[in-house]
């Protein structure tokens, strides 16, 4: 097992390298020139050339890449081309907001989705199952920006219960205040996540319950609850583990729409601004962090697979 983990980590290094090259090439090949966002009509051609040079953008792309790469090895993610602030600072500023929101919603999603959808699967076609299914259908059918706007309109504008935007009331610095601001965006993300998880878990529960081994358990007189907890749970958790592993990088940039609508000061909104300005140091920084999280997520998922389903040998 330990060997396996070490090997996966060693494998991840070239992967990260490839990701960085692919992302960098994508940015550099994209039509558009980051310098242009600084060019103004009163600047002469030599002003433009000077700015280009000062940002190192006059060099060929591969030279820029290796300059970037060398700095990253020393832990320096460079300076944003747009705001001229250190990329590492910019990302660190955003991490608490993003992790807080996404972490809370992932946790809540699991807490709701697992019991509810196993129940729904076990009591297929019962009234609770129908209600839950309908809700989950709606959850995956609703455009998130539209849902967000509706929530803002209802809970902030009509009822005045909750703030509509941001993460803090100006001048107030309390956890309670942040939680209050987090309720609406977290609701949007959780509702959508639960709906997605539920579809997988419910249909899996149903098919597991039809498996021979379950039928045998029933024949031996096991109760539904025991079967669900002892046997089905282990098997339905498999797809959830995969989805969770894939959700980790979303911690970084997945919720960009929700972040934008609620002006949540997270990584997603930073990323969108950066892509618009072809601000490659920032894009690369975000991409690399999300890649590292993905590697961790996948590794964790595969290890969990091995733990949950002994039929899968972690040798591949």
């Amino acid at each position: 097992m330990n060997n396996y983990i070490i090997r996966r980590i060693v494998q991840a290094i070239p992967l990260l390298f490839v990701i960085s090259i692919v992302s960098f090439s994508l940015i550099k090949l994209a039509p558009g020139d980051p310098v242009l966002s600084f060019v103004t009509p009163d600047m002469g051609a030599d002003d433009v050339a000077r700015i280009r040079q000062s940002m190192g953008l006059d060099q060929p792309a591969y030279v820029q890449y290796f300059a970037w790469f060398k700095n990253v090895l020393t832990g320096d993610l460079g300076y944003s081309l747009v705001s001229h602030r250190p990329v590492s600072t910019m990302i660190l500023e955003r991490i608490p907001a993003t992790f807080g929101l996404m972490g809370a919603s992932l946790l809540l999603s699991l807490l709701f989705a697992l019991p509810l959808s196993m129940l729904a699967g076990a009591k297929q076609n019962s009234i609770p199952d129908r209600i839950l299914s309908l809700l989950s259908y709606i959850g995956i059918s609703i455009p998130s920006f539209w849902f967000s706007m509706m929530l803002i309109y209802l809970f902030a504008v009509e009822f005045h219960w909750l703030p509509s935007m941001g993460m803090r009331t100006i001048g107030v610095d309390s956890i309670w205040d942040i939680l209050k601001h987090g309720i609406l965006p977290c609701t949007v993300l959780t509702f959508i996540n639960v709906s997605v998880y539920m579809r997988y878990i419910r249909s899996n529960t149903i098919s597991q319950l039809e498996e021979d081994y379950v039928q045998i358990q029933y024949a031996y007189g096991a109760s539904t609850g025991t079967v669900l907890l002892r046997h089905v749970f282990k098997n339905v958790i498999l797809p959830v583990v995969t989805i969770l592993g894939m959700s980790l990088p979303e911690l970084i940039a997945g919720a960009f729409i929700t972040e934008s609508v609620f002006s949540w000061p997270g990584m997603g909104s930073l990323g969108i601004t950066a892509v618009h300005g072809l601000d490659y140091p920032v894009i690369m920084g975000i991409t690399m962090i999300s890649s590292i999280l993905l590697v961790i997520g996948n590794l964790a998922a595969d290890i969990l697979y091995g733990a949950v389903d002994p039929r899968i040998k972690t040798t591949g």
């Binding site: 709606i138 797809p239 990323g271 894009i283």
Partner: protein, 281 residues
């Protein structure tokens, strides 16, 4: 096998009324968007004096902020949304299934290479890929389909792979291998039918998310190119008038909801019908 499945499908439809309702709704949507030209309004005709009119006898769905007939736009928009949803799902499912089964069944270096490619693509944030791909490709509906398809097959591949890995350890597959059947035959006869429920569930979710992703693209300003419309782009444009003209958000919102719901209901019917376990009974 096939006739049996069809029989199961028919009996499922008899059992599940929602499935029939879904079929009816989808058929209606497909038909009305195909025959959208019967609406006596040009969907792109701007009438400055008739901006933001609420629904009336003349304009059943009212007019938008350019004074264009909203019903006509919704119907023509339906064509785009349905086409985007269906075609990009098709791309995603084909690629995802091929990659997923190959990876899961063969394992070893095939699995390694394919999954590393998936890893690379998945670890680049999707909005970044969207924005960059959009900058490369000429804007248009084909581009949107390609972008969405290209962004969504990886999920399916990973889920299918996980299933395939599990299925290939089952006794009947092991038996087939020992008895010297060709891998292609094993994949076609044993692996694919067994991952089918997962693929179908994925596909329904995928069609839903494709239609939704199209609206996300609109949100980023990369959606369907004006003067054309899609439900997603209409919904996005309606955000600015949520207080003045709520009907503008209601119609496309409702259409998206109904369409996606229907696809999901259908997916459940298919799943129930195609499930190998169900066949045994």
């Amino acid at each position: 096998m096939n006739t049996m499945r069809l029989r199961h499908l028919r009996s499922q439809f008899r059992q599940q009324k929602t499935g029939v309702a879904a079929l009816v709704i989808l058929t209606v949507f497909v038909l009305v968007s195909l025959f959208a030209f019967l609406v006596p309004h040009d969907p792109n005709l701007i009438v400055v004096m008739e901006r933001l009119q609420p629904p009336s006898a003349q304009h059943w769905f009212g007019t938008d902020d350019y004074g264009r007939d909203y019903l006509a736009r919704a119907l023509y928009g339906g064509r785009v949304s349905l086409a985007v949803g269906f075609l990009s799902m098709a791309i995603a499912v084909c690629v995802g299934t091929i990659v997923g089964t190959a990876s899961g069944y063969f394992g070893g270096w095939v699995d390694n290479v394919l999954m590393r490619i998936v890893d690379v693509l998945m670890s680049i944030p999707s909005f970044f890929l969207m924005l960059i791909l959009n900058a490369y490709l000429k804007p248009g509906i084909g581009t949107i389909i390609l972008i969405i398809g290209a962004l969504s097959w990886m999920n399916i591949a990973r889920i299918v792979r996980a299933e395939a890995m599990s299925i290939k350890q089952r006794e009947y597959v092991l038996y087939a291998r020992v008895s010297g059947q060709a891998p292609s035959r094993i994949i076609a006869k044993h692996i694919i039918p067994n991952v089918m429920p997962t693929i179908i569930v994925s596909a329904t979710i995928n069609i839903a998310s494709a239609i939704l992703m199209e609206s996300s693209l609109s949100f980023l300003g990369l959606g369907v190119k004006q003067p054309n419309s899609s439900w997603g782009s209409m919904l996005n444009d309606a955000q600015g008038f949520i207080v003045d003209a709520p009907y503008m958000a209601v119609f496309p919102g409702l259409f998206i909801l109904l369409t996606v719901l229907s696809f999901n209901f259908l997916g459940d019917v298919f799943r129930a019908a195609f499930e190998p376990k169900a066949n045994k009974r």
